[in-house]
Structure formats: structure tokens, C-alpha cells
């Protein structure tokens, strides 16, 4: 036999070493991967732990038992005015706030008025409006505590305040309940009445507007580019522009929106309308890219089949391509929308960072959004807002996770095999 090289020595030491090295590399790679997964899991667990730990307390609030005897301290309001639209004003004018403060002093000691929320009398007012008979006698109210007392009751406190709160707790004058104002109100300076509903509704309206504009335009643009547009330098240019647009920092879109929508078109600023338009600008390129990929992945054989029985191009698109691309389009859209929902930067510039004390009534009334509310609350000095911030983060995360769950559900529902 006339070999030019020696036969490969599969059993030799050098070969064994190479094999060992290969296995070691394999193990190393696996370990690194596992480490990365564990690390990210750890971060997630830590985040959830901290958020849930702090945030859950934000959903509850401490109430203080305050008996008020309206016989001893009469509130002189014309009974007929209680049903009117200006009943609130009438009761306020009659000096209810002072009565409640006095009753608190009486029930809780010297600083009693400071231990209940400065807005506590509004709770009494609501109850009076519901049942005017209260004015005829003595009633025990559970009024929201002041922010300091609430924190002290939840976390414990030192000094005079701590001792007082402990005493109240021993006497059974403190109770903890779900903080309904948190779910019903908009922002406020007093954590006892500050709520997330204004921001949540603002977010929903904003995202709805963004979806209404970005989804049809994005999908139609993608369909045109994939199915109709000739492949030439212009469409290449458009494609590159769209890809670049998707990578533009979001605050730039805010500047653009400020210049175009507010300064030029004069659209109501700080409103869900202008916010939605801004986020639509930002999300559309993402939807176009996701939709184009989904449309591209529809097998050409389906197009051939439809064309082969004489379907027109529009029929091919709407009967076959779009239904088959829909799961991908929806997934991309919802992920884009979820990103828009968590977006703060572009909305700073269209005025949505203002303090908005009212729940937005429509798409043109001033409003803020969830991430902005989190940002605003995290800046507050009052310690009561720390847990409100965490609670708002939990609300935002729940909304985001629901949107992602919806995306997965829709994808599975519409996905078809072929």
C-alpha cells in the first residue's frame, strides 16, 4: 500500500486530548448559559419581590375611628340644598372641615386633627350626601389617616408619633382597608386621596388612539411595500428609512410631535390625543417591520394557488396573505403597543408630565399616563408616595403582562398550519 500520510490515529493521546477539550468547551458553554439564565431570573425575582413587597401596601390604607356628634356641633346646611349640584360647596361653606378637625382633636388627643388626612372631611361629606340623617346624631366614621400615621401604622415609627400610633392600635381605633380612592381618583398632593385611575384611563385612551392610527397605516404600508411596490431604488430608500425610523430615540418623536402637532396644528396639548399621535409615530415603523416579516413568511405557493384559480391581487392579499400573516402582525403590533404603553420620554415634551388632578374626560382633556405618573410620584417628597409609586408600577406591569398574554393568545388562536 502506498499511502502519502500515516492513517489517522483515532485512539492516540493527541486525539484524546482534543476530545476532552471539546467536551470541556461544551460544559463551559452550558454553564455560562445556565448562569445567564439564573442571573436574569434572580434580577426578575428581586424586582418582583421589592415591587410586590412595597407595592401591595400601596393598595391599602389606614383608617382612624373618629366619632362625630353633629348634635353637639351642628352643621347648618339647608336640607333642600343637599340634593343640588352645589351640595359639595354648600357643605364646605358650612364649615365641615373645622367640625371634623375638632372632632378628631377630641377623639385622638391634642394633635388629632393632624393625624387624619387633610381631605378626611370630604369622606364625611360624601357620607352626609348619601344619608342626610347623619346630621341629626352621633356617628362613628372611619376616616383616612394622615400620610405619617399611615406609614407609622404600616412600618412602625419611633418617637412621640410612634407611641401615639401604638396606643391607637392597642385601642383598636386603627383599621386597614383597601384604598378605594387609589382606584378611583387622579393625582393629588395628599397620598390619602391620590389615585391611579386618572393615569390609567389616560394610558388606555392614549394607547387606543395610537393603535387606531398606527395599526391600519402600518399594516397597509407593509402590504403595499410587500405586495405592490416595484422593487427599485425608491422602495429601497423607503425600506431603509423605515428601519432607521424604528431605531430613532423616542424623545426625538416627542420633539417632532411638539413641533408639528402642538405648535403647527395646535392640537390640545397634554391630551391623550396628542400623546396617542406621538406614540403612533413611534410605533408605526415597528408595526411595518413586523408586518412585512409576517407577510414575507406566507409561503409563495399559497399566492400561486390563489392566482392560479384566477384571484385578483387584492383578493390574494385579503383572502389569503393577510389572514395567514395576521398572527405575526398582531404579535408585532401588541409588542409595539406594549412598548408605547411604557414610554415616557416623548410624552414629556407634549405636556403630559403636568400635575393633572382630574380624571380625563375625553381624548382632548389634559391627562397623564401610567409611566409618567410613576415618574411624578417617585419625585414626591411625602413618604406616602413611595408605596404609591410601587403600587403604580404593579398596575403598569399588570397591564403590560395582560397585553403580552393577549398577544400570545391571539397568535395561538389565528395560527394555522399548512
Amino acid at each position: 500500500m502506498n499511502r502519502e500520510t500515516a492513517p489517522t490515529d483515532w485512539k492516540g493521546a493527541a486525539m484524546q486530548k482534543r476530545i476532552a477539550g471539546r467536551y470541556a468547551a461544551e460544559r463551559r458553554f452550558k454553564l455560562f448559559g445556565l448562569g445567564a439564565v439564573l442571573l436574569s431570573g434572580l434580577f426578575l425575582a428581586f424586582l418582583l419581590f421589592v415591587m410586590v413587597g412595597n407595592g401591595l401596601r400601596g393598595f391599602t390604607y389606614t383608617n382612624v375611628e373618629v366619632p362625630i356628634d353633629f348634635k353637639a356641633m351642628p352643621l347648618t346646611v339647608d336640607a333642600s340644598r343637599l340634593g343640588d349640584a352645589d351640595a359639595d360647596q354648600a357643605i364646605a361653606d358650612a364649615g365641615l372641615a373645622d367640625i371634623v378637625a375638632f372632632a378628631a382633636d377630641e377623639a385622638l388627643g391634642a394633635d388629632g386633627a393632624k393625624m387624619i388626612s387633610e381631605n378626611a372631611w370630604k369622606e364625611v361629606r360624601t357620607q352626609i350626601k348619601a344619608d342626610p340623617a347623619i346630621l341629626q346624631g352621633k356617628t362613628v366614621f372611619h376616616l383616612p389617616a394622615s400620610s405619617e400615621v399611615d406609614i407609622a401604622a404600616k412600618e412602625g415609627a419611633k418617637g412621640a408619633l410612634g407611641a401615639k400610633v401604638d396606643a391607637l392600635q392597642r385601642d383598636g381605633k386603627l383599621s386597614t382597608g383597601i384604598h378605594w380612592p387609589f382606584f378611583k381618583n387622579a393625582d393629588a398632593t395628599d397620598p390619602a386621596v391620590a389615585g391611579i385611575w386618572g393615569a390609567l384611563k389616560g394610558s388606555v385612551l392614549t394607547i387606543f388612539i395610537a393603535f387606531l392610527i398606527a395599526f391600519p397605516t402600518g399594516v397597509l404600508a407593509a402590504l403595499y411595500l410587500e405586495e405592490y411596490a416595484p422593487k427599485n431604488r425608491w422602495t429601497d430608500l423607503i425600506e431603509v428609512s423605515i428601519n432607521n425610523l424604528a431605531a430613532v430615540p423616542s424623545i426625538i418623536f416627542g420633539l417632532l410631535a411638539l413641533a408639528v402637532f402642538i405648535n403647527w396644528f395646535g392640537i390640545c396639548q397634554a391630551s391623550p390625543l396628542v400623546g396617542g399621535l406621538t406614540l403612533a409615530l413611534m410605533t408605526m415603523p415597528v408595526i411595518v417591520i413586523a408586518s412585512r416579516n409576517a407577510i414575507k413568511s406566507v409561503p409563495p405557493s399559497i399566492r400561486d394557488a390563489a392566482l392560479g384559480v384566477g384571484a385578483s391581487p387584492v383578493q390574494v392579499v385579503f383572502h389569503h396573505v393577510l389572514p395567514l400573516a395576521l398572527p405575526g402582525i398582531l404579535t408585532g403590533t401588541i409588542i409595539g403597543m406594549a412598548r408605547a404603553l411604557g414610554e415616557t420620554a416623548p410624552l414629556l415634551l407634549v405636556g403630559m408630565r403636568a400635575f393633572i388632578g382630574d380624571v380625563p374626560g375625553g381624548i382632548c382633556s389634559p391627562s397623564t399616563v401610567l409611566p409618567m405618573q410613576i415618574f411624578l410620584w417617585s419625585d414626591e417628597v411625602d413618604r406616602g408616595f413611595v408605596e404609591k409609586t410601587s403600587a403604580a408600577i404593579i398596575v403598569l406591569l399588570i397591564v403590560l403582562l395582560s397585553m403580552n398574554a393577549l398577544a400570545i393568545y391571539l397568535r395561538n388562536k389565528f395560527e394555522k398550519r399548512w
Binding site: P230, A306, G308, A311, H320
Partner: protein, 262 residues
């Protein structure tokens, strides 16, 4: 190219191609092909891979229009009417000249909707009852009715490969075409499914003009009455199938059918 014209006496050709060239960009895929397709005949296009037989087939119902770089010159007539004339409606043309593809490609819809799709978009069935009749007739003609009549609501993609291909044939004949183009309809099927399709082609002969592209020379010999041999984008020889296989006039044809190349 010397063709034996006496073999091509088709009194009333369904389709006629005259001097057809097809280009993909600068590359010429088909060079000066002239051929008649008979009304009651099965015409087979044979030739080695890349010889342009599928390209030529796809120019017969203008499926090449979907390829941006494709360009067709010359004349192709359907019943004497130029199919590339501006007055020709391409959507109607493709209904009149149906197509069955290499890989079975049913829509991911129910069997009923697969067959009913064409009649529906062309408005051939005014009512649901009419459509039922059309779907049943197409499935019967495609020899699939007995196998699927109890599960018309099931997805067409759930059928076996051979059944899928017969479903595609049913889908093509549901719009009542005049010509059916088949682009290697059996290349993805096993021998039993292939035999069924060949049987089906026999039965459909006479109802439709059929053009079939095939790699399989035995298949061409079995199913067709006319055979055209393509090589390197040209039509080398066209004649009666028996003549092509027993007594080819061209050296290249002879080499191909005896397995010298291809």
C-alpha cells in the same frame, strides 16, 4: 430546428404559441418556441431540469407576470385571442387556463372552501345550493369525492399528499376551465398516488385540454398523446407521443429518451 409539421396537424388548436421568447432580466430562458395545444389531447412537455419547460408552461396562463424580471415576447393565443393583449383580463385568463402546481398547495382552509373558492370569487354560484353542486361535481371529477364526502369541513392540509394534489386538481376544475396546466404534478407523490393522478388525467382528457410538464418519461408516454421535448430553452421536437418515444427524428431527443443525458 426542423419539426415534422405533418405530425402537428391539430385542426382546432386550443392554444397556439408562435415564436415565444421568455427572458428573466437579461437571461433568455425560452428561445423561439412555437407549439399548438389540442383541445381533446394531453400534451406532455419533457426535458432535463432547467430546460425551460416549466417557464414556458407558466407563460401559458401568465403566471410569469408575478416575476418582476420576466418578459414574454411572441404570441400566445387562446381560442385565437392573444392572451398578452392589453384587452385580455389576466384574472379571467387564469380561470380559463387553470393550473396545478408541483407541490400540492391547498389553502389552509376546509376541503369545501378549497374547492369552492374559485367559483365563489368568480360569482359562478349564486346560492349555497349551487356551490354545493359545483363542489361535489369537481370533487367527483377529481376522484376525491368518496374519500372526503363525510369530512368536507376538515382542513385541506390534513389530507395525504396524493389527496392534496387531487384536491388541487378539483380546485382547478371547479371554475370550469378550458385548459389545465400541470407542472410536474406527481413529483412529490409516491407511486400509488401518482398512478391515481395519471388515471385521473385519462378521465379528464376530452373535457379539458391538458398540458403536463414531467420529468418522468414513462409518465409522458403513459398519459399523453402529444409530447414536446425541450432542451436548453428551445423546443427540439414535438410530435405524437408514440413517434417521439419510438422513432425520434432528432439526435438530441433520442439521446434524452435513451438516458444518454438529462
Amino acid at each position: 430546428m426542423t419539426m415534422t409539421q405533418d405530425d402537428l396537424t391539430i385542426a382546432d388548436p386550443k392554444m397556439t404559441a408562435k415564436g415565444v421568447d421568455v427572458f428573466y432580466g437579461q437571461k433568455q430562458a425560452i428561445n423561439d418556441v412555437s407549439i399548438d395545444v389540442g383541445t381533446d389531447l394531453v400534451t406532455a412537455f419533457i426535458g432535463p431540469s432547467g430546460c425551460g419547460k416549466s417557464t414556458f408552461l407558466r407563460s401559458l396562463n401568465r403566471m410569469n407576470d408575478t416575476v418582476a424580471s420576466a418578459r414574454v415576447t411572441g404570441t400566445i393565443l387562446l381560442d385565437g385571442e392573444d392572451i398578452y393583449a392589453p384587452s385580455m383580463d389576466v384574472v379571467q385568463l387564469r380561470a380559463r387556463v387553470g393550473m396545478v402546481f408541483q407541490k400540492p398547495n391547498p389553502f389552509p382552509k376546509s376541503i369545501y372552501d378549497n374547492v369552492g373558492y374559485g367559483p365563489r370569487i368568480h360569482g359562478l354560484a349564486p346560492s349555497k345550493a349551487d356551490l354545493d353542486v359545483i363542489v361535489e361535481r369537481a370533487l367527483v371529477r377529481a376522484g376525491l369525492w368518496d374519500e372526503v364526502k363525510d369530512r368536507l369541513g376538515e382542513s385541506g392540509t390534513a389530507l395525504s399528499g396524493g389527496q392534496q394534489q387531487r384536491l388541487c386538481i378539483a380546485r382547478a376544475i371547479a371554475v370550469d376551465p378550458e385548459v389545465i396546466l400541470m407542472d410536474e404534478p406527481c413529483s412529490a407523490l409516491d407511486p400509488i398516488a401518482t398512478a391515481k393522478i395519471e388515471e385521473l388525467i385519462h378521465e379528464l382528457r376530452g373535457k379539458y385540454a391538458i398540458v403536463i410538464v414531467t420529468h418522468n418519461m414513462q409518465q409522458a408516454a403513459r398519459v399523453s398523446q402529444r409530447t414536446a421535448f425541450f432542451h436548453l430553452g428551445t423546443l427540439v421536437e414535438y410530435g405524437k407521443t408514440t413517434d417521439i418515444f419510438t422513432n425520434p427524428k432528432q439526435e438530441r431527443t433520442k439521446d434524452y429518451i435513451t438516458g444518454r443525458y438529462g
